[in-house]
Subunit: 320 residues, 6 copies
């Protein structure tokens, strides 16, 4: 498996840079889609699998499986994932969006925003990206951006999430919760708040976990989104955070500057302008590479690259 | 009279497709204009006439007559329509915008949004697009998007409209009203509500009648706009509805998917980004063609094409 | 018929004074009622009849007939008015509230706030207060406080109303509309706006027609409500207006000071504190007396008295 | 143990009636208190114990233990409950309010609204009302009105709660959640929504569980609060619901009318006018009596009485 | 001169207690008045003079002079103060409300809320309470609650104020500004912010200077108002603060608990329920007495008493 | 010194035209910058100096000095201006943005938006653009867009500003204030309000002073911004005003049409779309030229040109 990669342009002074052929997935990549964005990928077999948010032309939200050999060219199923009940009591939701995927122990776990009289965190799993099972939702509404850790922490599953309201939530902190069994959740801990306007305005309105964290020597490295409420609407940018290895609800470092902010036309124009929304990363620790997948303008999927060591270094040196 | 037309591109799978030379009317098509959009056209003599919303550079709203031989290249008068009083009691409004035009019996009726201590529906008529007469407004404020049917229904004039409030109305249903004389209105019937977010999010905030309906074998076919309230503002898209021939306040079918959504730069950028707002159509029933006129981004006028039979078929098969 | 009356207390310097035994109708005057308020009365036979807003204990709104010999002690039916369709096309509403009653020519007309996907003006009539007929609603939503004139004006029925929105409307002007037949309405005229905060703050947020106007030598005399939006909610007070006899949409005089403002415990405490809401008056022109019926705190019905000549004089001398 | 009781007045036709000596606890019952309200009681030893919400004169919210022999005259501790950590990981909250108390198996469990960067549901227990232990909070913020069932359901603890936002929440449904161990929670089920405005307006804005349910032959009987948003603020009234014995997240009946609405001066005047907020009940099934404890106007504690059989009957016959 | 006084009731444990005959000024104390509240008094000749906010029955706001021998029984002029221009450039305002009065050097200075396209701080003076002069307003809009110090600080006039917005301001801090000449103002210093909700909720929304500070051995003692935004509107209570003698923009102590909160019917009922708004105090340092004048429910004037030494002690011991 | 210049294109009929190579300063012109916009320039030595708003990648706002030989190619310092205290009492603010620069008598004065518990007007000066001194802020919060006149008026400094609130202010008028010493400010005069929606909608929400006025034969000529609140956010355009020479708070003329409105991609796309925000002009009275500097889309700096005589003529002929 080789993750997608492109070297940094010589004129670029930033630690993260865009793929020159962005967006890698167009809004009409499947016949029914209005837009494809905020999607997650993982290594799978010799290549990659992913779970994609495709809104159809009625702007109904659902998640779809897809596959790729190189991580750049994707074949997305034309029908949404058809979950089977993992459990007798499973509740079928009103809609599904913003998936994340992570391999833990023996299977691929998927989390997403699930409609249950308002948004909350749906959980499901697959072994093969063909057959999918839906479990109990993790929390009461209203919640969004549930992101699992790729291994148990002190014997328990760990999930970040962002308690929300039932609209265009104008606030938002990241919390951690733990579970012995992926069914019952507790030990809720507050992790991160938005920054003060005067310290880091791009993340002063709300923040939410983005990609599945991966372990580095410095701790868990995660990409997250931050939002500022301008007089012309919300603007979403991306930062990074380093979490304590043993107690990942402890944030050790977190970028005061953003790593990426909307500045290309495909990030500035679309169904919701000025949005960069990371949902996954692929990393090659040995080659010191990471490829970040993000939704752009709630319309397309794009990728960006970075050197893990540089990002860690930057996060430490520019911590809020 | 031949309506404007361009065949569907081979790569297009949609039932409605854009004109490749859009926008057909630029924002500065007349010297005083800041923007020209949300305008209506009808067949007239050998060619076409139209009533155009031109906001001037003080962003005052008014409506202007214009003429075209081919429906694409338009000559718009440099001065707004100067209405004469049709009636002693006529009230002169504060502003005029978003006109529709329809021929009934012996004359061209024009409806528009009329300022009368808030927006309501203005009514006027012309025989020749040279001399214009203004009648009593149809309703009390607050109302927008008044669209007349092209013939009397059970002996009465019929008008759709959308009761509103005095600002950026965050709700909106379509109602029908009837009148024996174009002066007094009653028999108000509720026609269509916004869709549920989970069923058809593009039209979940408000909807409004767009083009003048025309009669097909399936019933009256109308294009309407639907709005979703995103965290970055309202987005306007277009759908179609089929209304009962005898009782047109009965909606028989209505598209769950949109037919057009803002995705070209001239629809995504402008005075109000992400707006597609249909106000008229030209149809050739024998050739099975329809050409839809819509305002784009509250800045310019664009057109799109479709086969009537395909649109009817699509509307029936994809009905909400 | 003698209208209810009590002489002015010697210590009172105001032109309108309260009945000492207020409220005349308690919130639980019928077994099912949560509250009885905003109700209308007329002379009927030897005594009086009325239409009462009684919200039941589920807080569903409906209107009930009632009778009284003296105008003070009322017997209200325990069941709401059961309207028959006056017309084949009549639409049954979601709820009914805030009735007004007026005798025109041969029958008693009732107007009220009718639920039709939002509030609008319902119309019905009765000859005997036993059998009731419901007609077409007058207007499109959203509207409240429809008040008819007691005779035709220039051959047409005349109704005041207040265009509203679908919530706790924070604005509101009074308009006049005319109809040849009580079915189709038009010739809408703007009558009165809220006052400037600095000129007459008690009526600076919205105003609405209250009682049915009656003709005096000075013109039509009407009591209306005005609202101020304080930091602790809306406060409703009462003023008077004199309208032109021939063209009653012309307001000749209108009190800058209120005539009554909430200051008794039954006006300050209740389901909606600080509300005085007039819906009817009984007048004896020969005796120069008027008795005003008003809802207090959205909970009970109260009355107040005045000398017509004094009120006219006051209105002229203290006009806005 | 005899629960507080007073027979129904002969003039009363309602199923629930107030104690004539209300309020039973004044706002200044302890020296530091600004107000004492929204409090819970249980049988304890020969008499009763309770947990009281006392806001001090800095309007800081905390909960206090208290004792009574007759359930009417209470002695409340002058210092708030000093919780010990039940668990190493326990988080100390910012504030505590609106407690409920219930005996399950071997101890008295207390739930309350706990400040944890926003309101959520705190959990603690005591064996003796002298020594108290605080556990992990049940849920992520934002949540209020957590009410436990008095026994395990299918081997699990069951708790109702109302997901909220971080302000004066203008919406609110009741959900059920289950836990094997009082620490991790899942199996979230939607139970009850606010009613439609036209069906039962007193509960059309939000609802929340009130008293601890108790088992009757008809199922679990619970008193809950419902809220309407008037133009002068929120008004809180009380209804009852009957829940399925085996699957208590299934609501079998629920009153369309309220049982109590603010109509006494101590309910209409206070720190937050027009509030009736039930938090507990004492019942004597053999004597067919229930005594409901409720906070009035966010200022004092009051009680009301009813016959259990009558309430069940009323709830069934007047179900929404 | 003896200030109004009544000894503390034996049952009272508070440092401030109300006058048993409150309110001392009724809403209709002059013929034109709707309400009289938020008013200021000073010793004058052998007795007292005051400036009173009297809203008339058109709810127009203005300020009136008044006189009293004992500080309790007041004779208020029936006409508002008629200011002469102190200066050629003086701007006449739209309205006047919430006056404060203070004697500095040779004259009585009056400050108030002045309408100048929005509220700001008006300034005037009198030598005799007969002839009044209006100066330039102190600040740009939007501002309220301007309170002068009774002597110059470091050679300059000193004024506290609360920057506001043009509506029911939902925020508000107290600032100090200085002026060499009562005409030009600068050296703006931030003094006090609202408290955190969890520390002192009664003053968590906004605060504003109340009475003119007077010098004690502990520093300047001032009474101020604090506001909490409940779901039923703003509630205004009163606290005290001790300011540094030399640099009075330095707040040394400030009560975490309130001194007075609305709990009498005349404070809970009125044009704006639940308001206590102090605007003045009279003090007798030798007798260790202070009498506080406050507006109640935006309707009447009331007074309360305290021992200066006890208040200072309480403020120090219960400081935020 | 020659100001930047480009002749009007032949196809242009407007009085102001854009530079063809806009934007002249890119968002990443210095390594740390996220965006550079809303900046001011003045003639300095043989060329030009400027003060630039550069938001860094944490979106912290600060102002930076820069220099240019031709007014088009700028070298901006990589570190923000490091102000020294001009005065012992100077308060250091939370942030700095939107600078203006003007030479008066012997030095360059800089004004900007200064964070002091909310935005207000900061004042500083320099003699050489190397050493900078910060003075007392001019006003209490909340204020923005403070613009000084280039010479004293009647012996006093004169500054325009726009009183604001602490968020995305939805209102805003321009006021004038005067000061004898740049420290204490008074004599506040209202200058200009937003226009009525129906008269000039582009400036109907708020307006603010833009460039430093310069004296012409017609009076002071200033460019200002006007804002309309669309359903997709605020749109900022530019107009001109002519102020009375002697009493510059008297507005003699003011353009009803805008001079520039967002219509290029760099004005329509960026951190805040649809913004044109003028902060400075360079003029050559002899050559009848003016070059206007404006921020575009809160992201970059652009320039536009005009003939002074034409602008004056246009302003007079098209005055509101």
């Amino acid at each position: 498996m080789k993750i997608p990669w492109q070297e940094k342009p010589q004129t670029c002074n930033d630690v993260v840079w865009r793929y020159t052929e962005n967006p890698i997935i167009q809004r009409d990549a499947i016949p029914s889609s209005n837009s494809i964005f905020n999607s997650a990928v993982v290594p799978f077999n010799e290549g990659f699998a992913g779970v994609f948010r495709c809104d159809n032309k009625a702007v109904q939200m659902n998640i779809f499986a897809g596959f790729s050999e190189d991580g750049i060219n994707w074949k997305i199923n034309e029908n949404p994932i058809d979950f089977k009940a993992a459990d007798e009591g499973q509740v079928i939701g009103d809609y599904k969006y913003d998936p994340r995927v992570v391999f833990i122990e023996d299977r691929y776990w998927i989390t997403w925003c699930e409609g249950h009289n308002g948004p909350t965190i749906g959980i499901g799993y697959t072994f093969d990206f063909i057959e999918f099972f839906q479990c109990e939702s993790a929390f009461l509404p209203f919640n969004r951006n549930g992101v699992l850790f790729p291994k148990k922490i002190n014997g328990k599953y760990a999930m970040m999430s962002r308690p929300s309201d039932n609209g265009h939530t104008p606030f938002g902190d990241i919390y951690m919760s733990y579970s012995p069994d992926m069914k019952y959740w507790g030990e809720h801990r507050h992790m991160m708040s938005p920054a003060d306007f005067k310290d880091s305005a791009w993340q002063c309105t709300k923040i939410g976990a983005g990609s599945v964290p991966f372990l580095t020597e410095a701790g868990w490295l995660m990409f997250y989104h931050g939002v500022i409420n301008t007089c012309n609407g919300f603007r979403y940018a991306m930062g990074s955070a380093i979490l304590d290895e043993e107690n990942p609800h402890i944030v050790k470092y977190r970028t005061q500057p953003y790593l990426l902010t909307p500045s290309e036309l495909y990030e500035q124009n679309g169904d919701v302008p000025n949005v960069i929304f990371p949902c996954a990363s692929l990393q090659d620790l040995q080659e010191d590479k990471v490829t970040i997948f993000y939704g752009a303008a709630d319309t397309v999927v794009a990728i960006a690259f970075g050197r893990i060591s540089e990002i860690i270094d930057f996060t430490k040196k520019n911590s809020l």
